[in-house]
């Protein structure tokens, strides 16, 4: 399986995701933001970080780069795209997934482990994953998911919510919402479920001695689903 990770100026989780993808069997290539052509890929990942210094709005500049035009074409043709953290912010700025990510409700940068509940397993990202609740890491300042009421209805009608913030038992009450996101939303799909954006970092949970291994479950399952 071939994957591509796009590096923008200011990306800083691009090497982490490179390590994660390779660990679970992807042949990964790093793609520079100024490139125009996307190499042949089964999966494209937009990594976390602070592309273009988070100027104007997080992800807004990266969304307009030439390589992103290729990613958009790839995604619209059914290609698999994963946007993590800043990658999620880039996805919403391109309009590939609905909504926006606002400043965290209490105006603080949040860096901690959280639990997320998988809402929908009828997709290539989560199909056959044995767990329903995963422990991931979050590190962001603008992760407060927001969309209009009409959009929210559409998202829920199409089962586009991928992940909710929750506690370790899977309860999704407001108190387990770290950043003020509408309905505790931590990750969203597009309608067709080939594009997935999430604020938490699965690539930071791939080593028992460092953090945890729920990210390992996610990537192992993903590559199995792709085979």
């Amino acid at each position: 399986m071939k994957s591509s990770v796009i590096t923008f100026p200011g990306s800083n989780c691009d090497r982490d995701i490179d390590v994660a993808l390779k660990k679970f069997g992807f042949k990964n290539r790093m793609v520079w933001h100024a490139d125009v052509e996307l190499p042949k890929s089964d999966l494209v990942v937009l990594p976390g970080g602070f592309s273009y210094g988070d100027y104007l709005r997080c992800g807004s500049m990266a969304a307009k780069t030439k390589i992103m035009q290729s990613v958009i074409n790839f995604a619209k043709g059914g290609g698999l795209v994963l946007g993590i953290c800043n990658g999620f912010q880039i996805l919403v700025e391109t309009g590939l997934v609905p909504g926006v990510l606002l400043r965290n409700k209490y105006l603080e940068f949040i860096c901690k482990n959280v639990f997320v509940k998988i809402n929908n397993k009828h997709n290539i990202f989560f199909k056959s994953l044995e767990k329903d609740i995963l422990e991931f890491h979050i590190a962001h300042n603008e992760g407060n998911y927001f969309c209009s009421k009409d959009q929210l209805k559409e998202i829920e009608d199409n089962d586009q919510v991928a992940l909710y913030y929750c506690n370790q038992n899977g309860d999704t009450e407001e108190q387990y919402n770290p950043n003020g996101s509408i309905k505790n939303i931590a990750g969203i799909f597009n309608k067709e479920k080939n594009i997935f954006g999430l604020m938490p970092h699965p690539e930071r949970m791939i080593d028992k001695s460092l953090s945890g291994e729920d990210g390992s479950l996610f990537f192992k399952n993903l590559i199995n689903n792709l085979k």
Binding site: L56, E93, R103, L107, N144, F146, S148
Partner: protein, 79 residues
Amino acid sequence: MKISVVITLKKDVLDPQGKIIQQTLDGMGFNNLNEIRQGKFFEIDIKESDPKKAKIQVDDMCKKLLANLVIENYKILEL
């Protein structure tokens, strides 16, 4: 010619920064504030002498990059 753009958050969008600014001002003695909403302001110097054409171009810029229409409104003003 010079054109300016003012970007404001839509009514339903939470503005925690505006809220904190308001609270701080309140603490400083400005106690008669109903609400403060923080926005953005751009000054654009454009190589175009026809105001109509310039405004059309700036409008396009707002839609494509300067504003995110899910959460923001924009107003174009001539300087």
